[in-house]
């Protein structure tokens, strides 16, 4: 799925479209905001971008031919976020596939449970992940999306959803069990 039939659409949207939009798409405003908040790592930017995305979704509403409205609107939100990031924080996107897949020694459920109970620490660990990992965790664990929905939102095959999710979980675990961020960087340098 490319950027979601956004090029189609007919001449004008009428008030009937608006009612349909309010019924089908607007209930997903929380989902839209939550995804934008995590992709942009801030509430203020997320408000602006989520608003922009919702209005864009309304403009492209004729291109929505039924089906999963949440996945459809989240796809638009995600695209809007990435466009915004490219323009405003290009460096964040540049580093995203700088990943190493090394075993995680000593990540016992106990240490994880302790680290995971700290909201601030969990927030920081999630925000420190590259956007592609962050978004997949947000979609799966916070939004409860199925692999099929995630595949639609992020425009990748379902098999890739599973492997990306595996890597994302691994990375988050590692970030949480490496207590000290400085140590974290040293470890990276060594690898």
């Amino acid at each position: 799925m490319s950027s979601g039939g956004q090029q189609e659409g007919s001449d004008v949207l009428d008030s009937q479209d608006r009612v349909r939009f309010e019924q089908l798409v607007l209930p997903h405003l929380d989902a839209a905001f939550n995804l934008a908040r995590w992709l942009l790592r801030g509430r203020a930017d997320a408000e602006d971008v989520a608003q922009d995305a919702m209005l864009r979704a309304f403009r492209f509403f004729r291109g929505f031919h039924g089906g999963d409205a949440r996945a459809w609107v989240l796809q638009i939100v995600r695209n809007t976020c990435y466009t915004w990031l490219e323009k405003n924080r290009p460096l964040e996107l540049a580093t995203e596939f700088d990943e190493e897949l090394y075993p995680q020694p000593g990540a016992t459920p106990e240490t994880l449970a302790i680290a995971g109970d700290n909201r601030d620490r969990l927030t920081r660990a999630l925000e420190d992940l590259p956007p592609r990992f962050r978004e997949i965790l947000v979609l799966r664990e916070l939004e409860g999306c199925s692999y099929k929905e995630i595949a639609a939102v992020t425009s990748v095959p379902i098999g890739t959803v599973m492997s990306t999710l595996a890597r994302a979980r691994q990375r988050l675990q590692r970030a949480l069990t490496q207590a000290d961020p400085l140590k974290n960087q040293e470890a990276k340098r060594e690898l």
């Binding site: 189609e8 659409g9 007919s10 001449d11 004008v12 949207l13 009428d14 008030s15 608006r18 939009f21 309010e22 019924q23 798409v25 607007l26 209930p27 405003l29 929380d30 905001f33 939550n34 908040r37 509430r43 997320a46 408000e47 989520a50 608003q51 209005l55 309304f58 403009r59 492209f60 004729r62 075993p103 990540a107 016992t108 459920p109 994880l112 449970a113 680290a115 995971g116 109970d117 700290n118 909201r119 969990l122 927030t123 999630l126 965790l137 799966r140 664990e141 916070l142 939004e143 199925s146 692999y147 599973m162 492997s163 999710l165 595996a166 890597r167 979980r169 988050l172 675990q173 949480l176």
Partner: protein
């Protein structure tokens, strides 16, 4: 890490995305692979942390209102999408825009033109009250999941006794209650949760006869209204209409 499955199938398994045969295969594998067992436990611990500490952030009310007013802005009613490059369509669009704008004004300013005006005004008042309640600190005056705390709280504050019941075991835990004003009348409000969503149930006495449920939606919120036993109740939320109706049935019985 030596087991390949830790990096792949394990995740499909914990997300419930494997078909029955593959899930059974993986369960057999778990019996002999301590690495996968440990990884599964670690990932599940992390997942429950992510969900428990409340990282989900709901849209602020201000955003909701801005989106809503943009959608309703008359200038946005006719939105040219694809044909902006064709000059001849502009003229047609301008005429259409003027016509729609006039129609919109008429619809806005002359309620009589709208057959459902009373109902629409009522729905607006209820949805507005629901939105107001989502502002920080506005949701509950008495916060309790215990119906025996919430019910007495209303005593002396109202000239009627709203029925207060917890439906936690049916998936609608009571969150608390508050007073609100709808159409100039003081009403009781019971707050229920449904997964991540909140449901406001407005309750006030009525002299009108019992009536079966009426429902509708506005701005993406659904409402259902009914009268029974001298009380009128209206539940409003962004949950889906089926869930809302399930709560109505619980309350109406």
């Amino acid at each position: 890490m030596s087991c390949d499955l830790t990096q792949s199938v394990l995740h499909g398994y914990m997300d419930g995305e494997l078909d029955a045969a593959r899930a059974a295969d993986f369960e057999r594998h778990l019996v002999s692979c301590s690495e996968c067992v440990a990884a599964l436990e670690a990932h599940e611990t992390l997942r429950s942390s992510l969900q428990r500490v409340g990282l989900y952030e709901r849209a602020p009310l201000a955003l909701r209102q801005r989106v809503r007013s943009e959608l309703h802005a008359p200038a946005d009613l006719p939105i040219p999408v694809a044909n902006a490059a064709r000059p001849s369509s502009w003229r047609w669009l301008a005429i259409a825009a003027a016509f729609l704008f006039a129609a919109f004004l008429g619809w806005k300013l002359i309620p009589g033109l709208r057959g459902e005006s009373a109902e629409a005004a009522y729905a607006s008042a209820i949805v507005d009250a629901h939105l107001r309640s989502l502002q920080p600190g506005h949701l509950e005056d008495v916060i309790s999941t215990d119906q025996h705390t919430v019910k007495p709280w209303f005593d002396g504050k109202l000239d009627f006794a709203p029925p207060v019941q917890d439906f936690a075991s049916e998936g609608f835990p009571l969150q608390g209650g508050r007073l609100d004003v709808v159409h100039g009348r003081t009403v009781a409000v019971l707050v229920y949760a449904r997964r991540k969503h909140l449901i406001n149930v407005f309750v006030w006495p009525t002299t009108e006869p019992a009536a079966s449920a009426q429902s509708g939606s506005q701005l993406g919120y659904h409402w259902v209204d009914w009268r029974k036993g001298g009380m009128e109740m209206c539940a409003v939320s962004d949950v889906n209409p089926t869930d809302l109706d399930a709560l109505r049935q619980l309350l109406a019985n």
